[in-house]
């Protein structure tokens, strides 16, 4: 459905996109995962015909963003990174505006936005600028869907929103996917990757990998250990000072550790920790998460 080949874009001294390639399949829920500055917004602006690339080829449903920009704009729904609706128009007025711009009505495709819009319908006379973060999201999503797009492009729709609202938003996306829409979403939240069919990990204008979340986590190249002790600060420092540890990263309750030789003498490391006075030391071999994989790929690309 979306084909991107060797796409590059440079802003003055910064290479925002460095010859990236990726494919999004029809009716897929595809996640573009990467931190701020990785190139996600730049890529999305090129796809949505708002920015022209320096080189490379892009096709959305066979259409070219430069030659066929009008057709593409009718075919896609776009939710940009910041709230971009009209703050001084009401919820209802915003929705009406977008319907009119796309030459349709709210009623025509209401079934598509029904379960999203129902949650904000009680506030339909409220000015958009006075809505809470979660409600703004729902309104923006409704406006992006009002003309029944084939492709939905969402730039960090869950940034700055609490953990529960984020989950709710992804539930809405899954339901939309069932209605036949292709969805491309970007996010800096690694845990959201597991909710996608496939993900592309992006960092510094380059794609680190594209695959299903499962394949990515299965592909983690080393053994990974989760270690815990009563005093985390001491635990981290002591782990770092041991000559056999390679990476030491806090992960919530635990510290994730890989070792240099990949045949961890974990007992040796545990004894060392205990000899340094760490209390309540616990260790367990675990499978990698998307975040572990992202950091491993970051380190590999830094070292190359």
């Amino acid at each position: 459905m979306i084909s991107i080949q060797n796409l590059s874009k440079r802003y003055k001294a910064v290479d925002a996109l460095k010859s990236i390639s990726l494919e999004v399949n029809a009716n897929e829920l595809f996640g573009l995962i990467g931190p701020d500055g990785a190139g996600k917004t730049t890529l999305f602006r090129i796809l949505t015909t708002l920015l022209i690339a320096d080189s490379g080829k892009v096709l959305l449903n066979g259409l070219d963003p430069i030659l066929d920009y009008k057709k593409i704009r009718e075919m896609i729904g776009y939710m940009p990174g910041r709230f971009s609706l009209y703050q001084d128009l009401s919820v209802e007025e915003n929705l009406n505006f977008f319907a009119t711009v796309f030459d349709t009505t709210i009623e025509e495709n209401y079934d598509l936005i029904a379960d999203i819009y129902k949650q904000i319908e009680p506030f339909k006379k409220r000015l958009a600028g006075r809505l809470s973060g979660g409600m703004k999201q729902k309104l923006a999503l409704s406006c992006a869907l009002i003309h029944k797009p084939k492709i939905l492009i969402l730039d960090e729709p869950t940034t700055g929103v609490d953990a529960v609202s984020r989950m709710e938003f992804w539930q809405m996306l899954k339901r939309l996917q069932q209605k036949g829409i292709t969805i491309l979403v970007s996010t800096p939240y690694m845990d959201e990757a597991s909710l996608c069919d496939r993900v592309g990990l992006i960092q510094n204008g380059q794609i680190l990998t594209v695959d299903t979340p499962q394949n990515i986590t299965n592909g983690f190249p080393k053994k990974l250990w989760a270690i815990n002790a009563n005093n985390k600060f001491q635990l981290i420092n002591d782990l770092r000072s041991h000559p056999k540890t390679a990476t030491v990263y806090p992960f919530g309750e635990f510290v994730h550790v890989t070792t240099k030789e990949n045949e961890p003498e974990i007992n040796e490391i545990i004894s060392y920790l205990e000899s340094k006075g760490n209390q309540g030391v616990y260790s367990e071999e675990i499978g990698a998460s998307i975040e572990d994989c992202f950091m491993e790929l970051m380190n590999t690309s830094i070292n190359n």
Binding site: G34, G37, G160, V161, M167, I236, E291
Partner: protein, 250 residues
């Protein structure tokens, strides 16, 4: 066990017209503690934080921050705290040294002390070679670490961090928390808000605000036990949104 109290809040109420943003908050924060302040958007976290920073007056209640009274000694509070937020920290069109000198001046530090502190921080952050680089030209990860160090420039007793790691890559996020751990280890009290639930685990104690109230306040360990939760994400859901059904499998 930390016992010296750095922030004391009793019966804090803040109203905007009829809307009660902070509804009778009561808590203490101990010296050297990493205190996590969680809650959904609109729960009242930012309102409470602004009051603690001396930027806004309570409607009623008693507060002392760093031992100073919130009503009568606001300026003394500001001198003894640092603040860093995602939205605003350093001036893009000034370089690293200029930002440090600016903040040093704002915090009322003598010139000699500012000069010494600039060198100390540049060395600690490994940014000596970049001292004349404009903030706008720094990578985001550097900006984050720098912003934190500048918030601590005057060696405050308490530092307030408002979602300091939003959007940053996972490695930089953890390097940032190394700085937080170090600061707490050095006796600085850290008051942090975040939407990353794994970061809630790094805190000594955590509060969860819901609709202007504090509905949970304890160590992550005790909260997980109380709510029968595997991690802080589950605790948050149970406290903030008990009606929410988890229908997506991770």
């Amino acid at each position: 066990m930390k016992t010296e109290i750095e922030i004391r809040v009793r019966n804090l109420v803040k109203k905007f017209g009829n809307f009660v943003a902070n509804n009778n908050l009561n808590f203490d924060v101990y010296k050297g503690e990493i205190f996590g302040f969680l809650g959904a958007n609109g729960a009242g976290k930012t309102t409470a934080m602004r009051i603690l920073c001396g930027l806004s007056h309570p409607t009623s209640g008693e507060l002392t921050v760093a031992g100073y009274d919130i009503y009568k000694q606001t300026e003394l509070i500001k001198k003894n705290i640092g603040y860093m937020s995602q939205k605003f920290s350093l001036y893009d069109d000034l370089n690293i040294v200029e930002n440090m000198e600016l903040y040093g001046g704002i915090y009322g530090m003598p010139r000699k002390q500012i000069k010494l502190r600039v060198e100390e921080l540049l060395s600690k952050l490994n940014m000596e070679a970049s001292r004349k680089t404009l903030i706008a030209d720094l990578p985001l990860g550097w900006k984050q670490k720098l912003a934190f160090s500048v918030a601590m420039f005057h060696k405050p007793r308490i530092v307030f961090l408002d979602e300091p790691t939003g959007g940053v890559d996972p490695i930089t996020r953890r390097q940032f928390w190394d700085l937080i751990y170090q600061a707490a280890h050095d006796g600085i009290t850290v008051f942090v808000t975040t939407h990353y639930m794994d970061e809630a685990e790094y805190c000594d104690r955590v509060t969860i605000m819901v609709d202007g109230r504090i509905d949970a306040l304890d160590t992550p360990g005790k909260l997980k036990e109380k709510y029968q939760a595997a991690n802080m994400n589950e605790v948050f859901i149970k406290v903030a949104r008990p009606d929410f059904q988890m229908t997506i499998n991770n």
